[in-house]
Subunit: 316 residues, 2 copies
Amino acid sequence: MKTGLDLVNECDNFPYYESDPEEYSRLRSTSWELHLEGGSGPYGYIKQSVVEKMPWDHDAWQIDDEKKCITPAPKRYTHTQETVIRETLEVAKTRDIFQILRGWRNELYPVHGPYSSRKPMVSMERAGSALFGINTYGVHMTAYVNTPQGMKIWVPRRARNKQTYGGMLDNTVAGGLSTGEKPFECVVREAAEEASFSEQLVRSNAKPCGTVSYFHIRDARAGGEAGLLQPECQYVFDMEIGAEVIPKPGDNEVEEFYLWTVDEVKRALAEGQFKPNCAAVLLDFFIRRGILTAENEKDYTEIVSRLHRKLPFPTS
Amino acid sequence: MKTGLDLVNECDNFPYYESDPEEYSRLRSTSWELHLEGGSGPYGYIKQSVVEKMPWDHDAWQIDDEKKCITPAPKRYTHTQETVIRETLEVAKTRDIFQILRGWRNELYPVHGPYSSRKPMVSMERAGSALFGINTYGVHMTAYVNTPQGMKIWVPRRARNKQTYGGMLDNTVAGGLSTGEKPFECVVREAAEEASFSEQLVRSNAKPCGTVSYFHIRDARAGGEAGLLQPECQYVFDMEIGAEVIPKPGDNEVEEFYLWTVDEVKRALAEGQFKPNCAAVLLDFFIRRGILTAENEKDYTEIVSRLHRKLPFPTS
């Protein structure tokens, strides 16, 4: 059985300098930094193994072997930094160099600049984000019902044939945040697509409650190459709904929804049935709602901090 | 006017290695590590200026100038590590070496061991905790009323003659957590002492909602020497109460309680009227309750992470 801290360790599994400088330095030494023109960077960590295989166009990228820095530096004036990144990823996809690019989405993820602006400096194809190790963003919503038997939570099981974490349990609604999309609008859209919740229901009942953030090293279950780096921030929402509202899979990503008591959810967590970042969001939900407390969870303070990691690059 | 991030920066003002390795290393190089026998440490950061002035008994302390490590190593078998720390602090107090020890409390703060046990390894006088730079713990509770005009929050003003942050605004109830005390019991006790809330009210209505943690470098307003290091974790509680419940100062720490709208609290925050860690707790309250959102607070993701810093030493 997994403890709360075990679940956090599966999700936030990149070492911290302050508590483990050796392991932190070892992992950093096996990755290069993504820099951008006009920024003070870094904006991503690229694994050595990715650097070796990526089809870099040496006219369009500045590759500093000594500092282990890679910067799009387009010489041809018609190319922007964003175009350079896109073309390189497209070549890699065409040549089938990286498994992860088989999941090409035609969806852009933003790379945010320094604190002053908070605007994206460039965007890149979602499937390439873990190759460049940039911060990524998403939304996760927990829908629950207050019943005479206590709180119950709507838990979906991911389709068995899904390439990433197939058959595992998920949060009621979850999805990635594309460039330009606002978290609340994203949760409204995803709630309709994944759970068939009406727009009106979500606009009235969904409440933003903060973020859960972590620095994840991907394993085989995530699909694609293992070991890729994924610092991630999830905007979290809670939504109380009535017993008469029943979520229905709106696309083929979800197999089935269960309405579970807190104890049933806790058991499935301990059994490792949840996708790791969904487990993290549920722990945060339980903590904010006084279900997990300093008195019943021995690693309480550690867990709360680890669920809200300061990400290594500028955030949105 | 201060932004939310300005307020966080005042509270969590020790640099992060990952975003500012130079400043982090500079500050670390001006402090020594507190180690303990039987632990893998460090358990605290002691400023160079404190190391130079502390009346170390060289029979009872092992002082490693090269590694900048200080460990209680009592040779006389009747002395425990805890006794060594206590006697040293008592000598320092008697000789009036440190201003901060003028606020001697006769109250013990725990130093927690590594993850496996989570039990305190030793305890030390509260007033000495910032000299040794250990993690400290407290409770903060926000009491609020849902009125026809929206949510209102009970805000106390600290007594003008209080030596620390005199005259500044505070959270409804707040206090330090002594060795052996549980967070919930502490909030019950402090709520009676500071706000005259009945035990029954607090036991029924106070809800644990996580922690707020930060690494603070003390300034003159905190009392005592400026520059002392204080990594701190506050267990946070929300308490909804009816309009008929009126907090009354139960000791001479509070001058007056105000019942303020969210906008009034936001204005006082922006004006810098709140004690820094109380501002941090209110930002967390606003985030958990959907008052501050990704859409209306530009530094949302950064603020959420910074309010939940992973502390540098093992936590309780």
